[in-house]
């Protein structure tokens, strides 16, 4: 842990790779990108290995003051660790998935590697302004990826993306300035323990909310997401769904909740209301989509709503559940976009009706697609269940109404995902070109199999993922304790019937007659 600044190294490797990619021709750029992301993934494994569960809250800290209180300050807790692992795990897969890109390959690879730098930076930054730079700049490569390598409507999609994000981030920056002025520090751990005046908390919370709600995205500021996904190339969609959407959730858990606990409690009702609408509304919209990517994009909005209710449940199950939903959704929706990409590369259409009967000519593909579909609908034994179950168990302790509405997501989710699967994989082979598509090749198998393994691992033994975060969630839970809302259940004490009645029948030990 000493000496080797592993986090900086993880930022440096893809950065160097990005520069190299700009200088060489296409084939070499692909190799460099694959090597750089793989090295970063290996570094990620080292990071996870060296992370001490139950050790200091902030580990691998680096601090190099630059000027005027602004510092190159990195460090991670368990929550950041897990999100970094997710990012570095998905990156090599994204590079592999970019085989179909033929235009300006070097720049494309550079954009992806730069994005990896910025994503890791977001989760590792411990300085408020450093975080802001990473957080905002991280979107620039994404704009480029959509705007240059995207589909026919890419300009409109990236414009929408830009407009929403800009609005939120301006407000957040203003709030950050005020906070630094008030607390006299840009150090995130210090700010997390700082008690801002309650009146100010509300405004600060709303300013951060504007930014995070868009990133999440929450209803009704979600409409940029389907367009961005539809236009983005496959790998762009994977990163967008897999990691970029998690920045909103990370923002809530790192800033809104610990820094403004009282305001978070006060505005929980707003979050619940928007999330409840999102679950029902976007699930129903997903049901009527004809475009595969749009369908999965809308399902992302519904899943992210489970994250927000879990976070604002103010208890351990809600928080841990939300984190697991984020990790799981990163894997599962990423994998689903890869599944779309696999057949898009063959037929060049996302129109669901153009496929059908793929189980016949692509049985391996159908198996993976089924697994990820089931993980998406939250089948126990897959990662999707653990997170959803914990989040909803958490929110039930606050409100049975919110739980009831959000749990309808399990019905609607099954509806739209199985309807999608049926139209793609079941039925007769009604389109000759779709029927002629070959099954997964080795490259595609290598992309999907690790995600499948991770999805099952997280579903069967989520302890591996929960353990590093446990202490941090507990600390956050303690921080939130004062503001915790009272639940609507309030069960009273029981009035068991008198003992004689049981005794008369010869009471069995387990309360049986």
């Amino acid at each position: 842990m000493f000496g080797l600044p592993i986090l900086s190294l993880m930022l440096l490797v893809p950065l160097a790779g990005a520069i190299a990619c700009l200088l060489v021709e296409a084939k070499a750029a692909r190799t460099i990108a694959l090597v750089a992301t793989t090295v970063d993934f290996l570094l990620g494994i080292v990071l996870w290995n060296r992370y001490e569960i139950g050790g200091a809250q902030w580990q691998f800290t680096e601090n190099a003051p630059l000027f005027a209180g602004f510092a190159w300050k990195l460090g991670i807790d368990g929550i950041a660790l897990m999100l970094i692992e997710l990012s570095v795990f998905l990156m090599p897969i994204c590079i592999l998935a970019s085989k179909a890109i033929e235009k300006r390959v070097g720049e494309y690879m550079a954009a992806f590697l730069l994005m990896e730098v910025l994503m890791i930076g977001v989760f590792a930054a411990q300085d408020l302004f450093l975080f802001y730079i990473f957080f905002e700049a991280g979107l620039i490569p994404m704009y480029l990826i959509i705007g240059i390598w995207g589909g026919a409507e890419r300009i409109y999609a990236s414009y929408k993306f830009f407009l929403y994000t800009l609005l939120g981030s301006v407000l957040m920056l203003i709030a950050m300035l005020w906070m630094v002025n008030e607390a006299g520090t840009t150090d995130i751990p210090t700010l997390m323990a700082y008690d801002f005046p309650v009146a100010a908390q509300k405004w600060l919370w709303l300013a951060f909310f504007a930014s995070f709600a868009v990133k999440m995205p929450m209803w009704p500021v979600h409409t940029w997401l389907p367009d961005a996904h539809v236009q983005a190339p496959t790998a762009g969609s994977v990163i967008l769904a897999g990691v970029l959407l998690k920045m909103g959730g990370y923002g809530f858990i790192r800033f809104s909740l610990p820094m403004f606990p009282q305001a978070s409690a006060d505005y929980a009702g707003l979050v619940f209301a928007l999330s409840m609408v999102a679950v029902v509304y976007t699930s129903l919209v997903a049901l009527v989509q004809h475009d595969m990517k749009k369908l999965i994009a809308y399902s992302s909005v519904a899943h992210m709503a489970i994250v927000t209710v879990g976070l604002f449940a103010f208890n351990v199950q809600g928080l841990e559940g939300s984190m697991v939903v984020m990790l799981s959704h990163g894997l599962v929706s990423g994998a689903l976009f890869l599944c779309v990409g696999v057949i898009y590369d063959r037929l060049h259409t996302r129109e669901i009706a153009r496929y059908g009967g793929l189980s016949i000519n692509m049985p391996k593909y159908a198996l993976f697609f089924m697994l990820f579909t089931m993980a998406s609908v939250g089948l126990p034994g897959t990662s999707g269940f653990v997170g959803e179950f914990l989040s909803l168990a958490g929110i039930y302790q606050v409100s049975s109404w919110v739980t009831l509405v959000c749990t309808t997501g399990i019905i609607l989710g099954a509806g739209y995902m199985l309807y999608l699967y049926r139209r793609v994989a079941f039925g007769e082979q009604k389109n000759a070109d779709a029927a002629a598509m070959p099954d997964l090749d080795a490259r595609e198998w290598i992309m999907l199999a690790p995600i499948a393994a991770a999805v099952l691992w997280m579903g069967v033994y989520p302890e591996s993922f929960l353990a590093p975060m446990r202490a941090d969630i507990a600390a956050l839970d303690a921080r939130l304790a004062a503001a915790r809302p009272e639940g609507d259940a309030k069960p009273t004490a029981g009035q068991p019937k008198v003992a004689e009645e049981h005794a008369a029948h010869g009471a069995a030990p387990e309360g049986a007659h």
Partner: protein, 669 residues
């Protein structure tokens, strides 16, 4: 290692080998691996059950792996073995092993056999996880796992649109029940701070009479929890309101119907209520709900069963109805009787389904009984197996002497319902008597239409195809005996052996095990694994003589009506149906549940989705959001071009400016 580990995980291993090996592995290897695994599991299960019968087995729990630990919410992968589990173990592994064997013959011509056998074994694994669950979440795992397997198997012939539609319907309707189950688990955790079943059962009586806030109301705590969990049971066990998926599930291959949609998965709801019976007994309201739902279902499903023509649908509605009986028993406080009926029903209903499969096999995939007739002489072994099943389900037997399996278990349910001396018990009793008449009628109707009378095969398209293929090039002969020249063949041995074994169960299971399950001394058998009331057993045995003979009387009545309508005066049923007109159509169309749900839920969901998308997202949010902004900019100046192409730079610029301002401010400060 504990044998339970092998019982549960051998099927999973076999499923993985057969499923992943698939065509590379080959048909015979895949079928052998899965079938051997299941027979091994079956052979290991019976000693556990016999141990319970002889009273030697001690209940125990085998820890496998930690699952989730989140604050105080902890649950593990663990296998619980007690009497209730033992009963389910033998039911599940025996029927599953026999169904595996049967499928060798039934699926012999299918090109996708490894996949089929992998699904069957996967199902068995999930079902075993369900019945060995020590906590509610693992039960839910098994619950959803069997749902997945059921979805995959119903849609096994995925090229048929009706099969994939039925598969989705089964999964989604079950999810409606699961919504209740999940809320029930959340509520249970909230109240008891644990999801461990034994702990909940110990502490449940202490919470009797408390109240809880739920959806803005203050309600009795245990009632809320039990009813929520019961909604899950209603979905899985196809009870009235959530039953619509079960008849459609008959789209799956017939061995699947026998295993999943008759003997095992659909009984999971009954198993759950029995497993949690000490909890359910803390709320009289919840118990009444269980009884009334069961009573309504057993009657409603039986009425539909009398009118259907598809042989599998008749048996499917019959299953639905018999599950209603089990819930009545559980609801009046006789989980022992419910489990006993579950046990005997597994044998005779699997037998009826496999027998029907054998008939369908002989009749070249024809399922419509209007095109059967006179098959007794052509497939005599199948006929006798079906007779054993019919004698068992209709409950043929003489009090205190001997009866077929259903005689003991169904009569014990009716006696318990009567002996409960409650209003709900009376409703259950009278509904049960009425349905027993209908059961006898539709069961014998099935037998008479299929095996008696003259052949009516020539009207069947399936048979015509078969004949056409056979006689191709031979020149057509004219047949006026209704056979169209078709010769049904008895099924092969690998299908007949399972029929034989299950026939044995249908004949003897009641007589042999009645004492263990439902006598005064059955408390020693159950060992606290279900709530056992010796008092109710006394009441059951003390019911008036007419109560004991009433099922017999209605059974004979139903038989005579079927005899008259389908043997003696075959024009009578048609005339009766015409005379009843709207009533007949109402019943024949399954009380219009599918149409109702389609109008109420399915179409509105698509309609709303479309409106939300086109009016909400596009018409409102985008129009006044980003598009509106673009419009304003375009209109305001010739800036638009710049924004569209230079947005990236302007954005980067805004950010940089902002940061510079921030840093400057901090420096100055």
């Amino acid at each position: 290692m504990d044998p339970i580990l092998f019982i549960v995980f051998l099927p999973l291993l076999a499923a993985a080998i057969a499923g992943l090996g698939n065509r590379a592995l080959g048909n015979v290897a895949a079928k052998s691996v899965t079938t051997l695994a299941l027979f091994a599991a079956c052979l290991l299960s019976w000693p556990i059950f016999i141990g319970s019968v002889s009273g030697h087995a001690e209940p125990h729990v085998v820890q496998v792996l930690h699952w989730v630990q989140s604050g105080s919410l902890n649950f593990d992968w663990a296998l619980r073995v007690d009497t209730l589990t033992a009963v389910m173990l033998v039911v599940v592994t025996t029927v599953s092993a026999l169904v595996h064997l049967y499928s060798w013959g039934y699926m012999a011509e299918d090109p996708d056999q490894p996949r089929f056998f992998a699904y069957l074994s996967l199902f068995t694994f999930a079902m075993l996880m369900l019945v060995t669950a020590d906590n509610l979440v693992q039960m839910f795992f098994g619950w959803e796992g069997v749902g997945l397997a059921s979805y995959l198997l119903i849609g096994f012939w995925f090229r048929k649109p009706s099969a994939s539609a039925a598969a989705i319907k089964a999964f989604v309707v079950n999810r409606v029940g699961d919504l209740g189950f999940m809320l029930g688990i959340f509520g249970t955790f909230l109240v008891f701070n644990t999801v461990s079943i034994p702990e909940i059962l110990v502490r449940a009586p202490g919470m009797a009479g408390s109240t809880i806030g739920f959806l803005g109301y203050r309600l009795d705590t245990m009632t809320v929890l039990c009813v929520l969990l019961f909604i899950g049971a209603m979905g899985k066990s196809a009870q009235l309101g959530l039953h619509t998926w079960l008849p459609d599930a008959m789209e799956g291959p017939t061995p699947v119907s026998a295993l999943i949609h008759a003997a095992t998965m659909v009984t999971a709801g009954v198993f759950m209520v029995c497993r949690l019976s000490p909890m359910f007994q803390t709320s009289e309201t919840a118990m009444n709900v269980v009884t009334y739902v069961g009573a309504a279902t057993l009657f409603f499903a039986a009425t539909i069963g009398t009118t259907q023509w598809d042989i599998k649908r008749v048996i499917a509605y019959s299953t639905c109805s018999q599950l209603g009986y089990m819930f009545v028993a559980a609801g009046v406080g006789a989980p022992g009787a419910a489990m006993f009926h579950l046990f005997t029903h597994a044998f005779f209903k699997a037998l009826l389904f496999l027998g029907a499969g054998s008939v369908i096999h002989a009749m070249h995939h024809e399922q419509d009984m209007r095109f059967y007739g006179g098959l007794r002489k052509h497939i005599p072994l199948t006929f006798w197996a079906m007779m054993a099943g019919t004698l068992a389900i209709t409950g043929v037997g003489i009090v205190d002497l001997f009866g077929f399996a259903g005689f003991y278990s169904k009569d014990s349910i009716l006696e318990a319902a009567y002996g409960a001396h409650s209003q709900s018990g009376s409703v259950g009793f009278w509904a049960g008597i009425a349905a027993a008449l209908l059961t006898s009628f539709y069961s014998w109707r099935l037998v008479f239409l299929t095996f008696y009378g003259k052949p009516r095969w020539d009207q069947s398209e399936h048979v015509q195809h078969a004949v056409h293929d056979d006689h191709h090039g031979h020149g057509r002969k004219h047949h006026d005996d209704g056979t169209a020249g078709y010769h049904p063949h008895e099924s092969p041995l690998n299908m007949l052996i399972p029929l034989g074994v299950l026939s044995l169960g249908a004949v003897a299971a009641g007589y042999v095990f009645a004492h263990d399950f439902i006598s005064e001394g059955a408390g020693h058998f159950w060992r606290g694994s279900v709530a056992f009331s010796e008092e109710l057993i006394h009441h059951m045995h003390g019911v008036p003589l007419w109560v004991k003979w009433a099922p017999f009387a209605v059974m004979v009545t139903g038989f005579l009506i079927a005899c008259y309508g389908y043997l003696i005066n075959t024009a009578f049923p048609g005339k009766l149906a015409a005379a009843l007109g709207p009533v007949y159509r109402f019943v024949y169309n399954k009380w219009y549940f599918d149409e109702l749900y389609d109008r109420l839920f399915v179409r509105p969901a698509f309609w709303l989705g479309d409106r939300f998308w086109k009016l909400g997202d596009i018409g409102l949010i985008d129009r006044f959001g980003p598009n509106g902004a673009a419009w304003a900019v375009a209109r305001g100046s010739s800036f638009a071009q710049k924004v569209q192409t230079g947005y990236l730079y302007s954005y980067a610029l805004v950010m940089l400016l902002g940061l510079t301002a921030a840093i400057t401010w901090v420096m100055v400060h």
